[in-house]
Amino acid sequence: MKLFKKSKEKTELELIMEQAHIHEISGWEKLKHAETWKHIFFRFFTYLLLFSMAFVFLYPFLFLLTDSVKSLADLTDITVKWIPTRGLRWVNYKYAWQELKGPVTLPNSIYMTGMATFIHVISCSFIGYGFARFHFKGSNLLFGILVLAMVIPLQVMMIPMFILYSNVFGWTNSMKPILIPAIFGYGLKGGLYIFIFRQFFVALPKELEEAAYIDGCGFIQTHFRIILPISKSSILVVSILSMVFHWNDYTEPNMYLTNPKIRIFPQGLPGLYRMAVQMVDDLGYVIDKSLYNQATASAGAVLSLLPILIVYLFAQRSFVEGIQHTGAKQ
């Protein structure tokens, strides 16, 4: 991708050299110039800053990881911070998996996230294409409403929503309240995805579609056959955003997915953490030596992060490129 091409920024020394018409200079010669030292000093500081900030970013992750394999004795011992001294307790993961009811909830979670993401990509690209290419009376007004719907947190209107879904539509105990609004470009942050697709489509050259129209391709067909195949980067961005948001969401699943059969994986986490709190009394003494503690809660958190982490690792590079691509066109 062009975006990742290294910017050919010349150092000050190089510029001075150019002005003085010096083209060849050996490495040892360079060290005599103050500019080179300034350059090295600057680099050193940049790395120092970046790595220290990266540590702040990563610190909680690392902490979660070490916590998840600690034994009870290590957890309550304040001298143990990073490295568990009493062996790694992998069995925490087993208990967390059991408590989160992994065999039932993980497939549910994958199904919900996958379906919602798929629906969002199809519907939002479709609607975004309409906003990007076709101008009609009131299309600007509609776009204004889209931005408004994006800005207002829809969660604050959850009371009428809840009653609408459960009493009017009768969608109790199913994933419909999460999946069906996605078909209409709503659902979790639907407006954002329409917006992203629109920004991407506006920047596409029109010639392709014109050629398709001349060959007798209808406009819906053009969208699915011509436009979608060339907008892989924005599809990837929307998929990852939608996936991460759906996977991490608690508000809506907690309202609608109350039946144990359709509960999703991370929904059990608050329960795990609550058990962990009960373990210690007000003075910090361990009162309950049950299987569940801070370590199992951390193990549960790691387990629930693992799937998106794996997907993200595969898609990471193109995701960052893609979001830059859509971001640059604002």
């Binding site: 970013f57 509609l142 604050v156 991370p266």
Partner: protein, 298 residues
Amino acid sequence: MKSVSFKRRQAIQGLILVSPWIIGTILFFLYPAYETFALSVSELDSIKGLQKHYLGFNYYRNILFESIAYVPMYQRVFKEMLIRTPLVVIFSLFIAILLNLDIKGRGVLRSLFVLPFLLGSGFIMQQIMNQGLQDEMGDTAMGTDTTSISRGTILIPREVLWYLGPKVANLVMQFLSRITEVLWKCPVPIILFLGGLQSISGSLYESAKVDGATQWEMFWKITLPMIGDIILVAIIYTLIDMFTESTNSVMANIHSMAFKSTRFEYAAALACIYIVIILVLIGVIFGIAALISKSNNK
């Protein structure tokens, strides 16, 4: 069909493409928005089918003028927003500029800085924050009010702070306690800024260098004006992100008011006030942005 003009046909096609969203807007946006407002000015008779009768602005009066809990709550959320948003935007611009430098290993660093995004604003993040707090509390020996100052102790050795006295220490800690949360809000703005920085052509900087501009001048005269739009987008994104996160105390209050104490009307009134605040704030930001771009064009 042939007699239909191009413009007309385009309009119809556009409407067909957008029509699912229009249906969605009516069902999932306008209707709930209307119902929320209607609920906030009436009393619920039965929850089934939302039967209610008109009551007037009692709940609003109660929230704004009678209750002592809610105005400070809005103020707190609003204040936190005003402190954090500039911090997030400045930090992410700073990190983006560093990541945009021509250094080795920036690919790895870039993906590291995006990582917290995967946690979203979810429950786990909140837990990690609390957990870190508890852990630090175990060995903090500073003052009595350990809860508010112990969060960011990973950055400055505690011993240094002892010598500075409680006031300075508290100030530093207030800042540091925000820093982790602020940094964790940065990934998406960082990515946006990176895209913006890369779209600035290098020849601008080169010609400025030849004319003898310093790095500092180049930042103010070239970089900032070129990414002005993206700064606006980043500000709006950050604001929305903070307004909508479920850990935000207004959101938490609305949720518990509705589903724990089942006072739906009161929760609806709280939500309406919240929406108005958000709209006003975003309107003000757009207004300021328009003013700035106007004065730049002059």
